[in-house]
């Protein structure tokens, strides 16, 4: 039988099962019903007359709903398929499963249908790291329900299982003794309800937090349809782009996550299913990518990250005043401070990017109210850059974790251990000041200045920020520039020396606008040259560097998200044709993944593999990969808010033909953008030129 998994989810509640709909999790096996980073069901196995079932087919109806068609027996030949079983499951507060048994025979039949159930209440981190539990378990039969519970001091989590049809309950499951008439059917509804803390409805002051965690299920089909309806419509000659666009919208809808404090509003979580939580960096980048298509995601991201902005100095959480969080978790290990995610702040880019998103959001929407509302947070974020991130004492943002045990070493987006290296492969010490962080800081200061003048009415603050930005740009172009290679070093090490490998980070620098114009041509030649550009996209690390590996996580693979921002950067400096080439490469790669771009794919030359080689990851879809086609669409169309108008200045690959994006929302109301493919994106013989 195939080992493929079936995943359905709603917010941070998700179910991973096998193709029979069964869950048989071991300590380290990531299957089960998860909610708020805790596994609430680790066993959920259906038998008929003591026999397991065999899957005929699975329908992934929606991201929150699946249907399993099964027959009894585990043999490979179905000699006797006189019975069939249908399980239809949808996620809510826990899940609901409609179990149907059909008798296809002319004779009546008596059957014993059994559902085994158990929970280990593992924290998501425990599933990853195979840790032992410290609390105690209980099983109770109460009020027609099987109640599984876990307690450790005041911490308690529970799972309540019940059936709409009569059954015999025992501590390990539910048993149904049923009689089916000839061609008859039997049906029951099974409810699995998760409980967080002492779940009660609360007193006069409204429901408890635990109760609010079990929010009513919205009509999810209608909600998904509305999300897609409200997004711009795309018409195009090239069918794969239509497929990719639709896939991106549906996946973006699935990746929405509503923190309890956000009411009905949602923001993009980082990835499905393991990263269905708030991540500063991922939520901000994805909101930026999606701005021309959905603006509520950005507004919620800004509000919720602002609400949880750091206010204290806390070494365990790597928290500083003004710092924007990295990751938020709700499980047992977080609750007992065995992990720092309550929230964890060890991330050096989300704070300046918070200001970048706030400004870009205002440019698209004209929503100055939110800018006013978040003035304190934006000022605190700008203050963090100078007050708390200047770890090398040279005015650059640098990072070094203070939580040495469970904190993150690399606090930039390339967060694996070997991502930042010298040309010869050596790794620099800490603190490290990676180059893209300086670009984000520069951009944040200029955008902060614009908001200070426009909304906060503080011209003196704006002047100061602009002065700082211009000073930063001057120093950066001197200190990070690798003279003989004509590109920007990936970082400065603890001694202020250049970490001199050639990386995709150069593209982010274009996006931020920190690159001196005379240097841009050389940077673009590198980005589009053979060492970085594979034909599909720009590699994270250039061929020829000591640590280059075409299937190394951040040292040679191609990241669609990275490339979408590189394309934006190329446009910013006027390199339209080059931006179109990057867009074409990534969108053509998407075709090989049925429109769902993976987190990363191999850096092999396109001429060698003919198709993009997927890098194996546990998480799909990933939010910022889902957002990449959206940002590429807006860079190809050259969408640019200008006051109350939307400028359209297309540079479209000729392979795409005709492209229309209709009803683009913004401060202008809704407008349409049209383009015709005129850019030949086949590899050029000549060097790129600025246009």
């Amino acid at each position: 039988m195939s080992e493929s998994q079936v995943k359905i989810l709603e917010g941070n509640t998700f179910v991973v099962s096998d193709e029979r709909g069964d869950i048989e999790a071991s300590r380290t096996d990531p299957t089960g019903l998860f909610s708020f980073d805790t596994r609430f069901l680790s066993t959920w196995v259906l038998t008929v007359d003591g026999e397991r079932l065999t899957p005929l087919s699975v329908d992934d109806l929606q991201y929150f709903e699946a249907r399993f068609f099964l027959v009894p027996g585990t043999g490979t030949v179905y000699v006797d398929a006189k019975l069939s079983v249908i399980r239809q499951r949808s996620v809510g507060n826990g899940f609901h499963e409609e179990l149907t048994v059909l008798n296809h025979d002319d004779e009546p039949v008596e059957l014993v249908v059994r559902m085994e159930a158990d929970s280990d209440f593992a924290d998501l981190f425990e599933v990853k790291d195979a840790l032992e539990k410290k609390g105690s378990y209980s099983r109770q039969l109460h009020d027609g329900k099987l109640l599984l519970a876990y307690e450790r001091e005041t911490f308690s989590r529970s799972t309540a299982i019940s059936s709409s049809q009569p059954c015999v309950l025992d501590e390990h499951g539910l048993t149904f003794e049923i009689k089916l008439a000839p061609h008859g059917a039997w049906k029951t509804g099974l409810d699995v309800v998760t409980g967080v803390l002492g779940t009660s409805e609360g007193g006069d002051e409204g429901p408890t937090l635990a109760w609010q965690a079990r929010r009513p299920r919205t009509n999810m089909s209608r909600n998904l349809a509305r999300f897609i309806d409200e997004a711009p419509r795309l018409e195009c000659d090239w069918q794969p782009l239509k497929t990719t666009y639709h896939r991106s919208l549906v996946d973006l809808a699935a990746l929405r996550f509503s923190p309890i404090s956000a009411g009905r509003h949602s923001l993009p979580a980082a990835g499905l299913p393991w990263f269905m939580t708030m991540f500063g960096r991922d939520s901000i980048f994805t909101s930026l990518q999606a701005l021309p298509f959905n603006q509520e995601l950005a507004a919620t991201t800004l509000r919720e990250l602002g609400l949880r902005q750091g206010t204290r100095i806390d070494d365990f959480r790597d928290e500083d005043p003004g710092r924007i969080l990295h990751e938020m978790r709700y499980g047992e290990l977080t609750a007992f401070e065995e992990r720092p995610h309550s929230p964890y702040y060890g991330c050096a880019d989300a704070t300046p990017l918070f200001v970048v998103l706030l400004d870009e959001y205002e440019r698209w929407t004209g929503d100055t109210r939110l800018v006013r509302e978040l003035e304190f947070e934006a000022r605190a974020a700008l203050n963090w850059i100078d007050e708390y991130a200047n770890l090398q004492g040279n005015g650059y943002i640098a990072y070094q974790r203070r939580n040495q045990e469970t904190g993150l070493e690399n606090q930039c987006w390339k967060d694996s251990w070997d991502s930042i290296s010298y040309q010869d492969g050596r790794l620099p010490g800490f603190p490290r000041a990676t180059c893209e962080l300086q670009g984000y800081a520069y951009d944040a200061k200029l955008r902060g200045a614009r908001l200070a003048r426009l909304v906060w009415r503080d011209a003196a603050f704006a002047d100061r920020l602009e002065q700082q930005a211009s000073d930063l740009k001057r120093r950066f172009n001197r200190d990070f520039w690798v003279e003989d290679g004509e590109y920007f070093a990936v970082a400065l090490d603890a001694d202020g020396r250049r970490v001199d490998s050639l990386t995709s980070n150069n593209g982010h620098l274009l996006w931020s606008g920190i690159v001196d114009r005379p240097k841009a041509g050389a940077v673009v030649r590198h980005l589009m040259g053979e060492r970085l550009f594979s034909g599909w996209g720009v590699r994270t690390l250039a061929v020829g560097e000591g640590r280059y590996n075409p299937i190394g996580y951040h040292v040679g693979t191609i990241w669609p998200f990275d490339n979408s921002f590189i394309a934006w950067g190329l446009r910013r400096y006027g390199f339209k044709r080059e931006a179109a080439r990057v867009a074409a490469g990534i969108l053509e790669a998407a075709e090989f993944f049925d429109g769902r771009l993976p987190e990363a794919f191999g850096g092999y030359p396109r001429s060698m593999t003919k198709y993009p080689v997927q890098y194996p990851t546990a998480c799909s879809p990933q939010a910022w990969s889902t957002g990449a086609p959206l940002l590429l669409l807006s860079t190809m169309l050259g969408l640019e808010p200008s006051g109350d108008h939307l400028l359209v200045d297309p540079a479209l690959p000729s392979a795409i033909g005709r492209l229309e994006v209709l009803d683009i929302p913004g401060r202008w109301g809704r407008v349409d953008a049209f383009a015709r493919g005129r850019v030949d994106t086949s590899p050029p013989d000549r060097r790129p030129r600025a246009r």
Binding site: K134, T154, F155, S261, R308, E319, F336, E338, E373
Partner: protein, 124 residues
Amino acid sequence: MEPADGISRFFQELGRREHEPLLAKVTGRVRFELVEGRRTDRWLVAVDKGRVAVAHQSGPADCVIRTGRALFERLCRGEENALTAVLRGAVVCSGDVELLFAIQRIFPGPSRERRPLSGARGSR
């Protein structure tokens, strides 16, 4: 005359702040219920866009935060984190959750030395 314990000092000091910038966007009433045995001590903190008024009494509130007195003392000293205490169920919050996130900012941070492991803390 109230006993000058850590909790009273914390609330008195909070009440003396005319304007708390960390609560500048906050408007609402939070009732703290501090339980010790059979006795429940109630403090009402009313915030109006950063202006804070504290009263040592009960009263209607938008958000109620209920916990043991000993734990609350540790919160006032920066030895305990309010959000992990909520996740553990050691602090029970009802009503407006946004107020919880906002009001927990008033508790001090840990001192720069590693905090001693409290009973609730696991080994790391």
